[in-house]
């Protein structure tokens, strides 16, 4: 039924099977839209947020999604700026994943603010001293860059490509992609950093506050490092997932292994500085604020989170990715990438939730945050939105340039 839209020389599942899959996705998206609508209509009282937890699941999800979306800018940087041509196999996928992450995060962000209709105030009345202003500006600009990077892929659709204007426009965009890759790298560096700065500048919150360099707290640099150490891991995971579902090899193995190797080095680099930061924070920053290291682990937000973040989801995946034989093993590679991504989610969780759970005043109690369905639904809905975009892109666009070569049809 839709065969005219499917790229030439590749095989896709039947339209019936695809429609059934879309039905499931739309079901989940519908649930997310309902949750989001309830929050917009009734207000944030529909969530588990309160005056202790100004930030909750929405912000945790946003930060995690944006960090994991860093695969787009970093793969783009390696492909176009550094010149790692073998990554061209996977760059389209990285861009689509990045686009999903950034647009998805902005959808959730719309629900997160109490007055969504005033969202434009961030551009009209910007406070240049606020890290959040930097985040808002850079994320918006980078989403535009990602859209520009996504457009040539969309225009390569079999039917759209027949229109000469689209064909030449797409071709010319490809030619100047290095400019967008460099712009994306610059913008991404700053907003990933600003997201870390968001917490590090809270000088009245001992859990989050960090000293730093010039106007940037150390969390600024650590968030950049952690994003580029986990974003490519998500790209690998999504690639493996698409290959698994389609039962085809879509990307040359060397491209995946190169990305895995780079991820291993980046994760190790990040972990070295993260351990140093934790040590300095525990022995210098916290004592100066009158807090001991053990005091910041209270209630359900115990030391186990630190061990899970840096040990299980830090050292283990870094070790796997650093050892060539280990990362060449498909199962171990997937385990390492899952752990790497989980580690970054935990990192964003502790900076958001654990940070706010701890009362600063001695007369207050440790608070526990439990998200409601209206928070889970839009969050899961964003994942479904990602699945939708990915499914459509895979079916109708030449997302994997080597697919035909790797899977010849007799």
């Amino acid at each position: 039924m839709d065969s005219a839209l499917i790229p030439e020389g590749v095989k896709r599942c039947s339209f019936k099977a695809f429609s059934l899959w879309l039905l499931v996705i739309f079901g989940v998206i519908g649930w997310g839209v309902l949750g989001g609508f309830m929050v917009l209509w009734k207000g944030l009282n529909m969530t588990g947020l309160n005056d202790s937890f100004g930030f909750g699941l929405y912000i945790t999800a946003d930060l995690a999604i944006i960090a994991l979306g860093a695969g787009a800018f970093f793969t783009g940087f390696l492909t176009y700026v550094v010149g790692k041509k073998e990554l061209k196999d996977i760059i389209n996928l990285a861009v689509v994943v990045g686009f999903i992450c950034y647009t998805g995060a902005q959808l959730v962000l719309l629900l997160e603010i109490g007055q969504p209709i005033r969202g434009w105030f961030s551009f009209w009345h910007p406070n240049v001293h606020s890290m959040l202003t930097e985040v808002i500006f850079c994320i918006t600009c980078y989403t535009i860059v990602l859209t520009v990077e996504y457009i040539p892929l969309i225009l390569e659709n079999r039917q759209l490509d027949k229109v000469p204007e689209f064909h030449y426009f797409s071709h010319n965009l490809h030619e100047i992609m290095v400019v967008f890759a460099a712009t994306g790298t610059f913008l991404s560096f700053f907003h990933q950093g600003s997201l870390g700065g968001l917490y590090g500048v809270m000088f009245a919150r001992p859990f989050a506050f960090r000293t730093g360099f010039f106007i940037w707290p150390w969390t600024f640099f650590l968030f950049v490092a952690s994003a580029i150490a986990s974003g490519p891991a998500l790209t690998i995971l999504v690639c493996k997932m698409v290959q698994g579902v389609s039962r085809k090899q879509l990307v040359r193995r060397e491209a995946i292994l190169l990305l895995a190797k780079v991820t291993g080095y980046l994760l190790t680099f990040y972990l070295i500085f993260k351990f140093l930061d934790t040590w300095w924070w525990a022995t210098q920053t916290l004592p100066k604020m009158g807090v001991s290291f053990t005091e910041v682990f209270q209630g359900p937000y115990g030391m186990w989170l630190l061990i899970a973040e840096l040990g299980v989801c830090g050292v283990i995946p870094a070790t796997i990715l650093l050892i060539p034989k280990a990362r060449e093993d498909d199962v171990l590679l997937i385990v390492a990438c899952v752990l790497d991504c989980a580690g970054i989610v935990i990192n964003r969780f502790v900076f958001t939730i654990q940070n706010l759970a701890l009362p600063v005043l001695p007369f207050e109690q440790v608070q526990i945050y439990v998200p409601t369905w209206t928070e889970w639904a839009p969050t899961v809905g964003v994942l479904a939105y990602g699945a939708l975009l990915l499914s459509l892109s895979y079916r109708y666009l030449p997302m994997f340039p080597r697919e035909r070569e790797l899977n010849p049809i007799d």
Partner: protein, 249 residues
């Protein structure tokens, strides 16, 4: 401090904990004066708006060493330089410190409700409007005309009744004066305290009562180690209160 020395005015408050009986008159007066909304069920304390919170403190000792006290906590209008913890994080300039008075203000009609300021405040002094503000019918007529009620989805906090400052300035202008007399501008909480435990005024005026009390050996501020430089001081002759007030977490 807050860089407002040029104006010669830095409003602040001193609260004598030894005198405070915990009657909550200040809290009620604040609620009334500033049109702070409330709900029928106010049991959820992490969602109710209380600009003036009264904490009940105790020394944790068994009888007969047991001691208790009440600590009223409002926005402490931090004087940290260059910015208080809450203002510089706001992405839309909806909250700022007036460097002529030292008062930290909030502009609800500009607030986008991101709650970053709530997260940055160590004193839990900022509140979010989780619901539309509603008052029972007869009470609507008792709202203070000089204070706009805030809408759902924005943050609010103690303003030290800044509308009273504006009224006092207007009065002084009509009388041909450029300066305010001591006691001409007083927040509702200070006015309502039956025990006279609260003193308000210009901390930079060496002749003012508030400046004299702030320099007392009994004076302390909450969580001084954090460097927030609050402009609300507390007085107590009890050591355990001093120690507790300086304990972070």
């Amino acid at each position: 401090m807050s860089g407002n020395k040029s104006s010669g005015v830095r409003y602040g408050m001193v609260i004598d904990i030894d005198k405070c009986t915990g009657c909550t008159a200040c809290s009620v007066a604040c609620q009334q004066e500033n049109n702070v909304p409330f709900r029928e069920d106010e049991t959820n304390k992490v969602r109710s708006i209380t600009w003036m919170e009264i904490y009940q403190l105790d020394n944790g000792m068994p009888y007969p060493e047991y001691r208790q006290a009440y600590l009223p906590r409002l926005c402490l209008h931090c004087g940290a330089s260059p910015y208080p913890p809450c203002t510089f994080v706001c992405p839309v300039n909806a909250t700022h410190r007036d460097e002529d008075t030292g008062l930290v203000n909030h502009i609800p009609v500009r607030c986008i409700g991101c709650r970053y300021c709530i997260s940055a405040c160590s004193y839990h002094a900022r509140y979010f409007n989780w619901w539309d503000p509603k008052w029972p019918k007869p009470m609507e007529e008792m709202l203070t005309p000089n204070v706009s009620p805030r809408m759902r989805g924005v943050v609010e906090k103690c303003t030290m009744c800044v509308h009273r400052l504006q009224l006092a300035k207007d009065r002084a202008f009509m009388e041909g004066r450029s300066e305010l007399e001591e006691g001409e501008y007083v927040p509702a909480c200070v006015e309502s305290c039956p025990a006279k435990a609260m003193t308000f005024g210009n901390l930079l005026d060496p002749d003012s009562e508030v400046a004299r009390l702030a320099k007392s050996s009994l004076a302390f501020r909450l969580l001084e180690k954090l460097g927030t430089e609050p402009k609300v001081y507390y007085l107590s002759s009890q050591d355990w209160i001093h120690k507790l007030a300086d304990k972070v977490m």
